[in-house]
Symmetry: C2
Subunit: 224 residues, 2 copies
């Protein structure tokens, strides 16, 4: 296998990373998936990711980085006693932000990938994401890419196919990749841990639903 | 406490990081130490670090990142079945290199520090280190510093007081900081897990001893 034929996808089992998994399967001959247990309240997440990897027929790795939730207890995704921000507070991030999370995820994914001679990494981050988490920005990803290469003296390439897509365009990509139904019915995006269409009222559900409606309206228009 | 009055030191219990701990105590009003269990063969390391932190009267944190040793089994520091390289192989790193180690350490240290409102990080890496590990280079540290700041939208500063010092100069700094005897008698640098002067024949012991002799010769000359 040539160096550029393989990719490691960070897979959470949500809409975005699952779309990336199937995008990667079109781009690379060999694809593997890495999922992270970081102490999230909803352990269903990792089970969903495992099932999706199995359906996509790619090797699945589950890494335990729950240390991350022990270091900072101010996050509502890992601390049940904190009520989740439903809106972004002015001048700061919602308490669903886990500081350093994407940096830890991608660094461990890179170490694992390197041991398997895989140097393409795929992450489903997007700048169009509602909350403006700093570790979803393109600048951060590019800086991280350089740092990873300097740390290990390698030539990783981080791919972020969703970086400039809003949710309606992510639905469109899923449709183009022929996994629209799989994404709609089998992924878990909801902050309250409910599969597919979710609870309907958390920020992630609202975003997913608005994107879906926008995409379907656009699609219908095309066929009129 | 002002933002720049506190620092988090990555402490392994070796000569370099211990020297950095006492350097930091001179520079900052408040200092804490973070030590990492990464599946190293010699668990004595973390005990030594804890004892040194106690002697320096600084809070001590032990973080378990042993996941790192499960991802890449080609390292002699974490895999007992691999004999340790005593010399640097041509065109590659010795098998004492743990890929991504310093990046994982400093990222977790930063996440922990941030939760305590500490934004100075101190690491005992040095470019003069015998092996030329890529993650000890100044370029890597500067790139990591930027990436950390972008990841969390903060202003961390990574300090590397030993970056351009050879081992004899590290001994000299210890002497200036009045911890020469503590460093000589209580730190653990030896790859074979023997305290103070160590086994005498592993690369770390040879380097430590040569540096000590060089420094003592220089010092004696000054007083002649």
């Amino acid at each position: 296998m040539k160096k550029n034929d393989a990719a490691m996808v960070c897979l959470s089992g949500g809409q975005d990373s699952t779309t990336c998994l199937f995008w990667a399967k079109k781009q690379f001959k060999h694809v593997e998936a890495t999922c992270f247990n970081y102490g999230q309240k909803h352990s269903l997440e990792t089970e969903v990711a495992k099932r999706i990897a199995s359906e996509a027929n790619v090797p699945f790795h589950l890494l335990d980085v729950s240390l991350i939730s022990q270091l900072d207890s101010n996050c509502s995704l890992t601390n049940s006693s904190i009520p989740m921000d439903e809106e972004k507070p002015e001048n700061s991030y919602p308490n669903t932000f886990v500081p350093g999370r994407n940096m830890i995820f991608l660094t461990f994914a890179a170490i694992l990938a390197r041991s398997k001679n895989i140097f393409n990494l795929v992450a489903g981050v997007s700048e169009a994401d509602f909350s403006g988490y700093p570790d979803c920005r393109d600048t951060f990803i590019r800086s991280l890419n350089v740092t990873l290469n300097l740390a290990m003296d390698e030539q990783f390439v981080i791919h972020t196919p969703l970086m400039n897509k809003d949710k309606s365009e992510v639905w469109e990509l899923a449709d183009q990749l022929n996994v629209f139904d799989l994404i709609k019915g089998q992924t878990l995006t909801c902050y309250n841990g409910i599969l597919a269409n979710g609870c309907g009222h958390c920020p992630a559900c609202k975003l997913r639903k608005a994107g879906l409606e926008k995409y379907l309206a656009r699609k219908q228009k095309q066929f009129q």
